[in-house]
Structure formats: C-alpha cells, structure tokens
C-alpha cells in the first residue's frame, strides 16, 4: 500500500525542513522525502499550495470516556481531533471512573484503537481516585500505556504527596503534569480577579493562586529531579517562574492553551459561560506574557485543554456553569494566527503542536523522518471558515469562538498513511 503526498510545502521542525517536497508512504510509514518522486502504483494526494506537517499533537484533552459520554466519547473526541488536524492526543484521567487503574487505561487504548480516528495516549492519575492521598500504581499504568501522570482538574494540595509523586514517577521515567492551583487562594472564584470581575460582581481568582502552586511544584521538581510539566500556564508570573527554572537547569516544561493566548477576561462580559474556564481568561498583560513565553521557548507546547460540556451545564447562571471549552477544532487556526501576528515563525508554531509535545510525553510521533509512522496533516493556512456549532465534530459545542471566522484549517488528516479526515 503506497501513498504519495505530492508538491506540498513540507514543514518538519524536528528535522529543520521547510521546502517543497513529495512524501512517499509505504505501509503506513514514511519511506522517502524528496522533490519529484515518481508516482508508480502509489495513490497520489495533491498537496499543491498546502503545508504538509507532521500530524498535530494535542497533549491536553478531556475525552470524557468512560462515564461522561453525554459530553464526549472516544469516537467523537478523536473525530474532532482529526477534523482539527490532530493525529495524536493525550487524554486526562478525570473520567468516571478515573483512570487510576489498568482496566481503565486498557479500555481507553482498546476503544481508541478499534474505533478512534486518532492515536490516544492516556494520562494516568497521580493519586488513587484523584483524592491526593495515595499514589496510583504508576508503574503498571506506565507499562499499560500511560505516558504521564496528572490529577488534572485538581491540584495535589499536600506538598509531601506531590514530592512523593514526583519521586515515584521519576522511577519510571514519566512526567508529572501539574494542574497548578492553590485552591485556598481560588476561594470559590469564578473568573479572573481584576477590574472586570469587580464590574461584573463575580468573585475573582487572583494570578497568585496559579503562581504560588507553580512555584511550589517547580521547587519540588528541582528537589526530586523528575520532569515536571506545568499544564495550561495563564499568568505572567507562571511564565516567568518556568523561565527562571529552565535557566537554573530544572527539568520543567509547560504548555499554554489557544484561549489563554487569544482572549482576555473581557470575553466574560455579558456573563458568557463559554468564556468560563480554569485557569480563567486573564488580563492583556498575561496574554502578552504567554505570547512572549511561546516566542522565546519558555513554553514548550500549545495544548487545548479540550473540555467538552453539555449545553445544560453551560446554559445556567455564570457562577454555577462548568469550567472549560472545546478546543481541538480551533487549535490550528488560533496557533497560525500567532504566525500572522509575527509572534512565532511557522516552524516554531508547528513545533509547538507536533515534535515538542511528543518529546515531553516521550512518544515516537510528531516528525516526518524516514521510518516514522505516517501521521500527516495537510493544511491550507489561508482558507477562511466560520466556526458553526452544528458543524463541530465534537459532541459538545461550548466554544467562545462560535460565530467567528477562522483562517487556516486541516484539509486532510492522515493516520498511519490512511485518510481519517478530508475537507
């Protein structure tokens, strides 16, 4: 089985490639990259005028399966991924039951393998039941396919527990992904603390709620030597803490979401529950700091924190609405917008959603090297399209970008050489 992707502009940041090349795929693997490869008996996909990149990677997704399938499931979630050009994703363990045992890990992997449209790499829980009390069986979970550990959605409150989690995860060479939030400082807040929360009369969440926990976790990473990955950094303070830690040589990486580098807490005005997420949308100063962190390499990955919620969970008073938005299908245009705004080079932008998250998770994806699995995304960077709720592949429609025009989208998504999405 041969496929030839012809005449595209190949962007492969891991190999510093940016040129017009053909890619020959044989039996789901990349066999050759060269100008003008003869078609032979291969099926030809024309990529003229398009970018050809490694299949995109989103390292922070909530698939809601098992247990919360009314929001999303592995089939619809990976379909949304494919439509967004994402071929690999890491799914967070706060399902029902949570992914703190091998049975759940195996269920996710087998259902994704049989019915999914993307590679699914589970993240296991740090603690049993995500209660922050007893370590989950990380060794067995890692062996079963988990690529990292997190109690995402909840911070590990107890300092010693986090220390032991880092030490233990280090034994198995897995990163700990920190949802850095000091709940005592959140104190029931519903949005970013600042002039907008004062005006709207909503309880604010101060930046320090994130900064204080990021600082603690970085220091614990320094103590233990284990790889710490800080999820969804949203504040100037967190970006700066990670920057300083990297300078000191601490093994720390971090990610930022498209909404945190695109929107400010202004989006909450009108009590828009699709602008409610955790961490909350912050100030323009924080957005600028996140962009600067992406530009100078402090931030290693762009991840969506794709968090589907049923309309009934959003169509309520702001204070009681669920946190989170769907993001898989708007990841690419919002990332490319940073290229348009001259925050990132195209190589940087693609690296942040391919080889860099792959490196963090230790998965053999995110490049177009010869011999690699042929996960490939064909991108039209200039195509304009309207985000419409009914056209989203995700089961949930909780996006603040609905009704907005995006620029850039995946035209074809190949998973091991097989087309899983075409526009």
């Amino acid at each position: 089985m041969k496929v030839l992707v012809k005449s595209g502009r190949v962007i492969d940041p891991a190999n510093a490639i940016d040129e017009k090349l053909d890619i020959l795929i044989v039996d789901g693997k990349i066999a050759e990259l060269a100008p003008n490869i003869g078609a032979g008996e291969a099926d030809v996909i024309s990529a003229a005028g398009m970018l050809v990149t490694p299949g995109l990677i989103d390292m922070h997704v909530h698939l809601r399966d098992p247990g919360l399938e009314y929001k999303e499931d592995i089939i619809t979630g990976t379909r949304a991924a494919a439509a967004g050009g994402v071929t690999s994703l890491a799914c967070m363990p706060n399902t029902s039951p949570v992914n703190d045992n091998l049975a759940v890990t195996r269920y996710i992997i087998s259902k994704a393998g049989e019915q999914g449209s993307a590679n699914v790499f589970p993240i296991g829980c740090i603690s049993k039941g995500m209660k922050g009390e007893i370590l989950a069986e990380m060794g067995e979970l890692k062996e079963g396919g988990c690529v990292g550990f997190s109690d995402d959605g909840l911070p590990v409150k107890d300092g010693e527990m986090m220390r032991r989690a880092l030490e233990y995860a280090g034994t198995f060479g897995a990163p700990i992904i920190s949802h850095a939030e000091d709940l005592s400082l959140v104190a029931g807040g519903a949005m970013n603390e600042g002039p907008v929360s004062t005006e709207l009369g909503l309880k604010g969440i101060p930046n320090v709620a994130e900064d204080a926990m990021t600082a603690r976790d970085i220091m614990l990473a320094e103590l233990t030597g284990t790889h710490l990955h800080v999820a969804h950094v949203s504040t100037r303070g967190s970006v700066e803490l990670v920057r300083q830690a990297k300078t000191r040589g601490v093994h720390v990486t971090c990610e930022a979401t498209p909404h945190h580098f695109t929107l400010t807490d202004d989006a909450v005005r009108g009590y828009n529950t699709n602008a409610k997420m955790n961490p909350p949308l912050r100030s323009q100063d924080d957005v600028d700091a996140v962009c600067a962190g992406l530009a100078d390499g402090t931030i290693d990955a762009i991840a969506t924190d794709h968090a589907p919620h049923h309309i009934d969970e959003k169509n309520v008073e702001f204070a009681i609405a669920m946190n989170g938005i769907v993001g898989l299908e708007t990841l690419l245009p919002l990332t490319l917008k940073l290229v348009g705004n001259k925050v990132l080079s195209l190589q940087q932008a693609i690296a942040l959603i391919s080889c860099q998250p792959a490196r963090i998770l230790g998965i053999d994806r995110g490049t177009l090297s010869v011999g690699a699995v042929a996960d490939i995304t064909l991108i039209n960077p200039n195509k304009e399209w309207l985000v419409e709720a009914e056209k989203l592949q995700s089961k949930s429609k909780n996006s603040p970008f609905i009704g907005q025009t995006m620029r850039g989208c995946a035209m074809k998504t190949l998973l091991a050489g097989k087309e899983v999405y075409s526009r």
């Binding site: 104190a187 029931g188 603390e193 600042g194 002039p195 907008v196 929360s197 004062t198 005006e199 709207l200 009369g201 909503l202 309880k203 604010g204 009108g270 009590y271 009934d312 169509n315 309520v316 008073e317 702001f318 204070a319 009681i320």
Partner: protein, 311 residues
C-alpha cells in the same frame, strides 16, 4: 424625552439624561403616595411577578406596593416556595412563569448576571431587584432621588460610601449613578473589602473613613453582610466598628449639613452608632419612602410609559 426601556438590568447601561428622566418621573409619582386614595389606574390589566430568590423585606414590599398603587396585579414568588428546591433550572422556572403571560418580572437572585441571563431568554420585561454582587439599580435611583430631595442637586456634591464594597451590589449601582449625575464618589473600607480595579468604575478609593467623609455632602454606610462572608474579612465586628463605623464624633468631619444614608437593614453599633441612626442627619426613612415612587416610575416606564397614557 421618551424613554421606555425593555428591561432595567443595571445603571451602567443608562445615560445621565435617562437617569434624570427616571428621577423626574418618580417625582410625579411621589405625590400619589401621600393621597388618601393611593392608587392610579395606570397599569391596570398588567401583571407583575416579583420573583425573589433571596430573602428581602424592604425591596420586595416596595416593588409590590409600587405595582399595586399603579393598579397592576402583583404576585410574589419566593425561593423557599418555588421549584428551585426541586432542582429546576432558572431558565425552566422563568419559562414556566412566562407561560402565564406576566408583563414584567422583577427578580432578585444571588447570582451576578442572573437578570441579564433571564432577559436574554424571556420575551417579557425584566427589572433587576438585585443580582449577586453586580447591581441593584432601583436602590441607586432611590438614593439619588433622596439626595436630590435634600440637596436640590447631585451635580458637584461629594458622596462617601463606606463598608463592604466587594460584596455590595448597591455600591456598584451607586458609583455609576452618582458619578454619571456629576457627583464625586469616594469609597472606603478595609483592604479585605475593596475589590481590585474599583477606580475604573468611576470613584476615588480610601482605606480610612476619615479621609473619605471629610467635607462630604452625603455619607452612605453599607451593611456589614455577615451572611455573605465565607472568608475571614474582618477580625471582629468590634474592630470594624472602631475603624469604619460612623459615630457622632467622626461625623463632624463631614459638612455640617451632610446627610447620612443606609440601604438597610442596619446593624446598630456596627457600621453606625445608634446615636447616628436616631440622629437628625439621617434620611434613611426618606430613602424607604422614596423607594416606592422610584419603583413606580421604573415599572411605569418599562410597561410603556408615555405610550401607555395615550392608549
């Protein structure tokens, strides 16, 4: 001027001219409240539902009397007797009420933005009787009305507001209302009760009572809302009273003819000494009295105003 807003959700959205028009309209209703027969047929045939998800005596009664004196049929629904306890959503509750064709829903709710939420989902008018920590427009209007009654104007006055600013919807509406009408608004409270970015609403912020009330024309004290405080914001009521309570002594800092206001209910001995509460400067009962006239004006204007009289 013709001003018939569909909803009254907050003061922020209203212009100085619109605020003045509401106050002038209230002026014409005030006289009705002193008649022997306190009723005019203006809103006959209209149905007003007072939908209160939070306990309230003053505001609910005031709206109810306002509606009745305009001959509207008023119905009160309070949260304890509603379907909220059965788990119904706010939207479903409101839609069920709307199916009975009210003309106006007057709502109080503990969630900021709840009236905004309702106005986007219902076809009848919504009047905000207090939403969370957001706005309480009828209170700000009756405060402005009372100040105007005693001072003859609002433009150029200095009004000090002292208390738990963070949790107060009254203060937000008052800052907008008074500053739009030309007053200088000074705010004071302990640091734990001053939200960030308060200045951007249109006021000066102080962390002590003396600087805020010095030479003020009007001093407005807010209730220390013990029931709202989940977090430790003040060490004790005793210490609060010592540094932020109004008494005969510190009241001397304000102008000699300064008036003292309070949205009620008062904690005597906490935000105000009993001597001040019972003293000659306070206009608190005028506020309550004027509340009826202001709410009559709001219901009248929302229901159709000028157009209504021509029919």
């Amino acid at each position: 001027m013709i001003f018939n807003p569909k909803h009254i959700l907050g003061i922020k959205e209203l212009s100085a001219a619109e605020l003045t028009f509401i106050l002038d309209t209230a002026e014409s209703f005030k006289e009705i409240n002193n008649r022997d027969i306190k009723k005019v047929p203006t809103l006959r045939g209209k149905t007003i539902i007072n939908l209160f998800f939070e306990a309230s005596t003053r505001t609910r009664t005031s709206f109810e009397i306002a509606g009745k004196r305009l001959s509207a049929d008023t119905v009160n629904i309070s949260a304890s007797s509603s379907s909220v306890v059965k788990g119904e959503t706010l939207e479903d509750t409101a839609k069920n009420i709307e199916a009975m064709h009210p003309d106006i829903i007057v709502m109080r709710h503990s969630a900021s933005g709840a009236c905004h939420y309702l106005s986007e989902r219902l076809s009848c008018s919504v009047v905000n009787a207090g939403d969370g920590m957001h706005e309480h427009p009828s209170q700000a209007l009756l405060d402005a009305f009372t100040i105007r009654q005693h001072k003859g104007r609002i433009d150029g006055l200095t009004v000090a507001i002292v208390g738990d600013i963070t949790h107060s919807r009254v203060v937000r509406s008052n800052i907008y209302c008074l500053s739009k009408l030309g007053a200088t608004v000074r705010i004071a409270g302990p640091g734990t009760m001053l939200p960030p970015g308060l200045e951007s609403l249109g006021c000066e912020v102080f962390n002590n009572l003396a600087d805020a009330i010095r030479d003020a024309d009007c001093v407005m004290m807010l209730r220390i809302q013990r029931e709202r405080q989940g977090a430790p914001l003040i060490p004790s009521v005793r210490e609060y009273a010592r540094y932020f309570g109004l008494n005969d002594n510190n009241l001397k800092l304000a102008k000699d003819d300064a008036i003292v206001m309070h949205p009620g209910p008062i904690n005597r001995g906490v935000e105000m000494s009993s001597a001040v509460v019972d003293g000659p400067r306070n206009v608190i009962l005028d506020q309550v009295e004027n509340g009826v006239a202001v709410r009559m004006a709001l219901l009248y204007l929302v229901a159709g105003g000028e157009k209504l009289q021509q029919d």
